[in-house]
C-alpha cells in the first residue's frame, strides 16, 4: 500500500465501520446476560433467544409475516406477469398510460398508500386483518414485479412464442410452456424481492392491522418498553433470515444468468 491509496483505504474502512457499527452492536448485545443491552457486555448468553422463542406473540407475528409475504408475493408476481405479457405482446390503446398507472405506486410513499387503504377500509367497514395487510403489500409489490418482468420481455421470447403458435400451441399453452419458463429468472427475482419487501414493511401493516400483526409491527410495539436484549435477539434473527433470502436469490438467479 502506497501513500496515494492510504487515504482511500482509510476512508473505506471508516465508512464501513459506520455502516457496520449498529449491526455489530445489535448482534453483540443480543448475547447479553443482563437486562440492558448496553456496555459492559456480560455475556455470552442465549437467555434472550430463549425468551424470544418463548414469546408467543412474537412467534405468531413471525408466522403471520411469512404467510402474508408468501401469499401477497405470489399474487403480485402472477398479476404483474400477466399484465406485463398483455402489454408487451399486444398493441393496446393507451398502453403508455396503462404502464404508467401500473408503475405509479412506486413513486408514492408507503405512508400515503397505507393511509389511503386505512380510510377506504374504514369507510367501507372492512375489518382490519392479515388480509388487508396482504392487499396493501400486493399494491406496493405489483408495480415492481410488473416492471421487472416487463423489462425482460425481449424479442427472443416473442420469437419463441411465435414459433410455438406456429407449431400449434394455444394462447394459454404459449404462456405456460414458453413465456413463463423463459422468464423464470425474472419471475423468481420478482417473487423474492416482493417477499423481502413484504417481510420488512412496517407502516402499511401498522395502519391496516389490528389483532393479528406482522413481525415489524410486533417489534415496534416491543420498542415501547425501551432498550431490551430480546429486541436485539429478534433483530439479529431477522437479519440472518433476510440475509439467507438474499443469498438464495443471488445463487439461483445469478447462476441461471451465468449458465
Amino acid at each position: 500500500m502506497n501513500i496515494r491509496t492510504l487515504p482511500a483505504a482509510l476512508y473505506v474502512l471508516l465508512l464501513y465501520g459506520f455502516i457496520f457499527l449498529p449491526v455489530l452492536v445489535l448482534v453483540l448485545f443480543s448475547f447479553q446476560e443482563s437486562r440492558l443491552p448496553v456496555p459492559p457486555f456480560d455475556g455470552p448468553s442465549l437467555a434472550w433467544y430463549r425468551a424470544m422463542l418463548a414469546d408467543d406473540r412474537l412467534m405468531d407475528a413471525l408466522v403471520n409475516s411469512v404467510l402474508v409475504g408468501v401469499v401477497s408475493s405470489l399474487v403480485a408476481v402472477t398479476l404483474g406477469f400477466l399484465a406485463a405479457y398483455a402489454l408487451a405482446r399486444h398493441r393496446l390503446p393507451l398502453a403508455g398510460l396503462l404502464r404508467g398507472l401500473l408503475t405509479a405506486p412506486l413513486t408514492i410513499s408507503y405512508l400515503i398508500i397505507g393511509m389511503g387503504l386505512l380510510i377506504t377500509f374504514n369507510s367501507l367497514g372492512v375489518p382490519k386483518s392479515l388480509w388487508t395487510i396482504g392487499i396493501g403489500h400486493v399494491v406496493i409489490n405489483l408495480p415492481l414485479c410488473f416492471a421487472i418482468v416487463y423489462s425482460q420481455m425481449g424479442a427472443q421470447q416473442a420469437h419463441a412464442e411465435r414459433a410455438a403458435r406456429d407449431l400449434g400451441a394455444r394462447e394459454w399453452q404459449v404462456i405456460v410452456l414458453i413465456t413463463a419458463p423463459m422468464l423464470w429468472p425474472a419471475l423468481f427475482a420478482s417473487f423474492f424481492l416482493s417477499l423481502t419487501f413484504s417481510w420488512d414493511e412496517f407502516i402499511i401493516a401498522f395502519l391496516v392491522s389490528r389483532f393479528d400483526v406482522t413481525l415489524p409491527v410486533e417489534i415496534w410495539s416491543m420498542l415501547r418498553s425501551g432498550l431490551n436484549p430480546k429486541t436485539n435477539a429478534i433483530g439479529s434473527f431477522v437479519f440472518v433470515i433476510s440475509f439467507l433470502f438474499v443469498l438464495l436469490l443471488d445463487l439461483v438467479v445469478l447462476r441461471k444468468r451465468a449458465a
Binding site: 411465435r162 414459433a163 403458435r165 406456429d166 400451441a169
Partner: protein
C-alpha cells in the same frame, strides 16, 4: 386436376399508408419448392407472414389445399415455419424442441419419440437429442429448426430467410441439403430470400417480387436467361441494358434498331415503341465463334477478379455508357487494352422500357 397446395387470390396488405402487397395472385403446386425472391420491402416476407397466419391480409383470400384459411390463427393452420433466427426454445433440449408440435397435437408419447428420432435422423443430428440448444452451432440450430417444423408433417413448410444467419460456405452447403431433404420428404416448401444465387440453386419456381407485386415467375433458368422485366434482369445478376426502338412487327417477331445495330428478336410491340435490350456480361464474347455478330472494338476501363472469371468495364464507340464483359479467369487485361466483342443475337432479351 389436383388441388394446389396454396392459392393466394387477390391478396393485398396495407400498413397505414404503405401498400405492402397489391392484389397478389399466386398458386403453389403440391410438392413444389417455391422461392419468393426480392429486395427488402418487396413484399415477400409479408406474403409469407400472411401464409403462416402471422398477419391478416387487408383484402383477398388464402387457400391451403383448397380450404379458405385467410383468417385462421397460426396454430390452426397446416403450415409450419423455419424462422430466420430459428426461435428454438432455450429452456428445452433438442428433443423437447422437436417434440413440441407433436405434443400440441396430442400425439401419443410413443409415437412422439419415434417421429422425433426420425426427424433428427433426417437432418443428421440424431446424436444431439439430449443437448441444450445454445450449445449447438449455427448450422446445427438451423437443422433442428427444420426438423421441428417438418416433424408435424405440415402441408406447406415456410422458410423465412432460413440461411440468412449463416456464413457463405455453410449457406451454400445448407442450400444443397435443403433441396435434398425437400425431395426426400416431398413436402411443399415456400422459401423467402433476397439472395438470388440461393434462389436459383434450390427453387423449382422462383417468384420475383418488387414493390408489393409479382414481377416475374418461373423456373430459375427461364428467369435468369429470359427475364420478363427490366427489374428482374437487373436484380438477377448483372445485365447490360441498351436502348432500342421497334421498327417493324410481324408474327411476334420484332425488328429492333439500337446503337449496336438492327436485330430480329421475338416479342410483341407496336412499331415506334422504345424498348430495352438486355444482354448478360457472359454473353459478350471476345471471339467470333460460330456466326456471332461483331460489335467492334471495346476499350477496357478496369477489371475485377472473381475467381471463376474477370469482370471488366469497357467502352464501345457506339454506346454512351460502359458495358460489363466477362473474361476468362487466366487472361490478364490492363486498362486501355482493346477487345473485339461479339454476341449471339438470340441471347438478347427485349424488355419494356
Amino acid at each position: 386436376m389436383s388441388v394446389p397446395a396454396v392459392e393466394f387470390r387477390d391478396v393485398s396488405m396495407r400498413f397505414g399508408d404503405i401498400e405492402a402487397l397489391s392484389g397478389v395472385n399466386l398458386t403453389v403446386e403440391e410438392g413444389a419448392y417455391m422461392v419468393l425472391l426480392g429486395p427488402s420491402g418487396g413484399g415477400k416476407t409479408t406474403l409469407l407472414n400472411i401464409l403462416g397466419g402471422f398477419l391478416e391480409p387487408s383484402g383477398g383470400r388464402v387457400l391451403i389445399r383448397g380450404e379458405d384459411l385467410t383468417h385462421a390463427p397460426p396454430a390452426r393452420r397446416p403450415t409450419t415455419t423455419v424462422f430466420q433466427d430459428y426461435a428454438l426454445f432455450p429452456h428445452m433440449n433438442v428433443a423437447g424442441n422437436v417434440a413440441f408440435g407433436l405434443k400440441m397435437r396430442r400425439v401419443p408419447k410413443r409415437e412422439q419419440q419415434e417421429r422425433v428420432a426420425q426427424a433428427l435422423d433426417l437432418v443428421g443430428l440424431a446424436h444431439t437429442a439430449g443437448q441444450r440448444t445454445h450449445a449447438l452451432s449455427g448450422g446445427q440450430r438451423q437443422r433442428i429448426a427444420l426438423a421441428r417444423a417438418l416433424v408435424v408433417e405440415p402441408s406447406v413448410l415456410l422458410l423465412d430467410e432460413p440461411l440468412g444467419a449463416l456464413d457463405m460456405k455453410l449457406r451454400r452447403q445448407m442450400q444443397h441439403e435443403l433441396k435434398i431433404i425437400q425431395q426426400r420428404v416431398g413436402t411443399t416448401f415456400v422459401h423467402v430470400t433476397h439472395d438470388q444465387e440461393e434462389a436459383m440453386a434450390i427453387a423449382d419456381t422462383i417468384v420475383v417480387m418488387n414493390q408489393g407485386s409479382i414481377e416475374d415467375l418461373g423456373p430459375p433458368e427461364r428467369i435468369y436467361l429470359r427475364p420478363v422485366s427490366r427489374f428482374t434482369a437487373d436484380f438477377m445478376g448483372d445485365s447490360n441494358l441498351i436502348e432500342g426502338q421497334v421498327v417493324t412487327q410481324r408474327d411476334a417477331q420484332l425488328t429492333v434498331r439500337s446503337a449496336l445495330g438492327e436485330f430480329e428478336l421475338p416479342g410483341v410491340a407496336e412499331p415506334g415503341t422504345w424498348v430495352t435490350l438486355a444482354i448478360r456480361p457472359e454473353h459478350l464474347h471476345t471471339d467470333p465463334g460460330d456466326g456471332r455478330l461483331g460489335l467492334g472494338n471495346a476499350q477496357v476501363l478496369e477489371c475485377g477478379f472473381y475467381g471463376t472469371h474477370h469482370q471488366c468495364d469497357a467502352t464501345l464507340a457506339s454506346l454512351p455508357h460502359p458495358i460489363k464483359v466477362r473474361i476468362d479467369q487466366k487472361r490478364l487485361l490492363q486498362p486501355g487494352d482493346v477487345l473485339p466483342l461479339y454476341l449471339d443475337p438470340s441471347d438478347l432479351v427485349v424488355l419494356a422500357r
